[in-house]
Amino acid sequence: MNLVLRLAWRNLWRQPRRTWLTTGAMVFSNVLLVFMISLQFGMYRLMIENSLQAFTGHMQVQARGYIDDKKMRQSVPDIVSLANELREELDGGAVAARATAFALASSEERSYGIAVFGVEPQFEPRVSNIPGLVGEGRYLESNDAAEVVIGAVLARNLKVGVGDELTLLGSGRDGSFAAVVADVVGIFDSGVAELDRTIAEMPLGLFQDVFYMHGAGHQVVVNAPRLGQVAEFRQRVAALLPDDADLVVHDWDALLPGLKQAIQADISSAVFMYAVLVILVAFSVLNTQLMSVLERTHEFGIVLALGLKPGRLGRLVMLETALMGLLGLCIGALIGGAVTGWLGVQGFTMPGMDEMGAKFNLPSRLHPQVTVASLLSGPAVVFLFSLLASVYPALRLRRLQPVEAMRAA
């Protein structure tokens, strides 16, 4: 084996230019793959994290059926105690209770239908970044003051500013009339048009009072420390729920089904592109190896005549490709990792990023993230397909007849 390996290595450098050219194709595609996969998955992670951080959270405890019907009566009883309990059991984790209702918000001049959320002012900042995005005024402070915080677009539509009054009109949990006049104390600008246009937040205590909730709410938002721990946390939360109440825990992909679908659609179109790239490289390898086998027909005839087994010759050719592939993999991953890593630290931007960013909650500067998976998955596939491409030239050798081969030019 050692001999074959040495032979293969020497054979590669009999035609250094050809070897470098083929390796170059591999390196190029590997660098591209490392960069694109790093960028892509970095972007997905950002998309998910930013969308969830904005408002939804990693998971929510809700009454069964609420996720589909969103009816006000499908509520979680005594929601504040439940949230406190979960918070304690999860070692002071990010847990906050909310209640929500549809309401008509009107200022002196205009009226709009919006979603009103009752939130716990002291815990909400741990599960949502809206409190941190209050640009004008301040976030809610007490649990029952007649105060609201609204989105920037809504504020503009209603023509209200900090300090103005807002009237909210809706139906309470028991169907009776719910109405309140509250002071706008803050305006948040999340950059997500949907949130900025349709959401108002008020203290949970006030909400429960106005909408006759009798201590109930609609969702307990729970965040795991990392996105990867969501499944584990979900099980812990589910185990902590009281048995008698009909409650369920939904994780983020149930709460925001559109997000996962958008990502999956993007992955499938990217996979198609990667496949084209890998197949092109594989054909270039096939071409090179076939040529190198054909031009050595005479030489192979001699070694066969000397008693070398055809199978060993085949292995030699495969090994040549493997060595070349390994070279391409190492150099490609090295350069790809270095370039991507540098761009990850520096960040970069593309034309049209602002628009896309607004749609998927992405910053306008991108920072691709190099991980072991993004560094090695693309090059590994290129390596594998190159090997596959050399199977045909290697197999040809098995049918080689020594005498005829030696007569070949």
Binding site: S106, S111, S171, F177
Partner: protein, 251 residues
């Protein structure tokens, strides 16, 4: 469209041959039914029962109407909702809540929303007369139920009409009492049905005294309106239908 008119014409001539005295014109029947229900003016007390599979809620309301366009509805009971009301005038609607002491105009985007939490939409309440002006009416059938003639009418909105329905179907007795009113969406699917459960002699007229609105996709959810008392053709001042009266009742 041409087919529809031809068929309609055929049907109408057919009716004319059958009809003994006058040829019943579909549009006139609808017009008469709406007029009969509302009168030139009316003042009534009604109760409204909102039923859901797991809860129920009832309200008592006082209502005034004048002409086709003006109406005022005010909640009397339950006590905590007393004084809440809505005023409609020519497709516009305002609502008042004593809790916040404010009159709020309902934006047109909210007209499809539920009225006072019931299965009636704001539009149902504000635009009762749209069906006369903005629809083409066809008499589908005339049947005899216990000696009373019942007309089955299909009403299709004009192309430009600002209406969410694809078509509506009405069953009206020849004494102008509406028996059933079905609302279909643009795809021809039944969305909701208003059915008359009781007919009584009230305020000098025979009227549908108890009606129920049922959503087609949720048969367990309905809203029932029962007329407790009603007076027709009384003198109601225009000042009743003003925002200041909605806010501060003067009666």
């Amino acid at each position: 469209m041409r087919y529809a008119t031809t068929i309609a014409a055929l049907l109408l001539t057919g009716m004319a041959c059958h009809g003994a005295e006058t040829s019943p014109d579909a549009r006139a029947i609808v017009r008469a039914a709406v007029d009969h229900w509302r009168g030139v003016s009316s003042h009534s007390v009604m109760s409204m029962l909102i039923h859901r599979p797991d809860w129920e809620r009832s309200m008592t309301m006082e209502a005034w109407t004048k002409g086709d366009e003006k109406s005022l509805v005010r909640v009397i009971e339950p006590k905590k909702d007393r004084g809440n009301g809505t005023l409609t005038d020519d497709n516009e609607m305002w609502t008042f809540s004593p809790k916040v002491n404010r009159v709020i105009k309902i934006p047109s985007s909210m007209m499809g929303q539920s009225w006072l939490g019931s299965d009636f939409s704001n539009k149902d309440v504000a635009r009762a007369d749209d069906i006369i002006d903005q629809y083409d009416h066809t008499l589908l059938e005339t049947e005899d139920v216990d000696g009373i003639t019942v007309y089955e009418i299909r009403s299709v909105p004009h192309e430009q009409a600002a209406v969410v329905w694809g078509r509506e179907e009405l069953r009206v007795r020849d004494d102008h009492v509406l028996l059933e009113h079905r609302f279909y969406d643009q795809d021809g699917e039944l969305v909701k049905t208003l059915e008359t459960l009781e007919i009584e002699e009230m305020g000098g007229r025979t009227i549908a005294s108890r009606q129920r609105m049922v959503k087609a996709d949720a048969p367990g959810e309905w809203t029932e309106i029962e007329v407790i008392s009603v007076e027709y053709e009384i003198d109601i001042r225009d000042s009743v239908f003003t925002l200041s009266n909605l806010r501060n009742p003067r009666d």
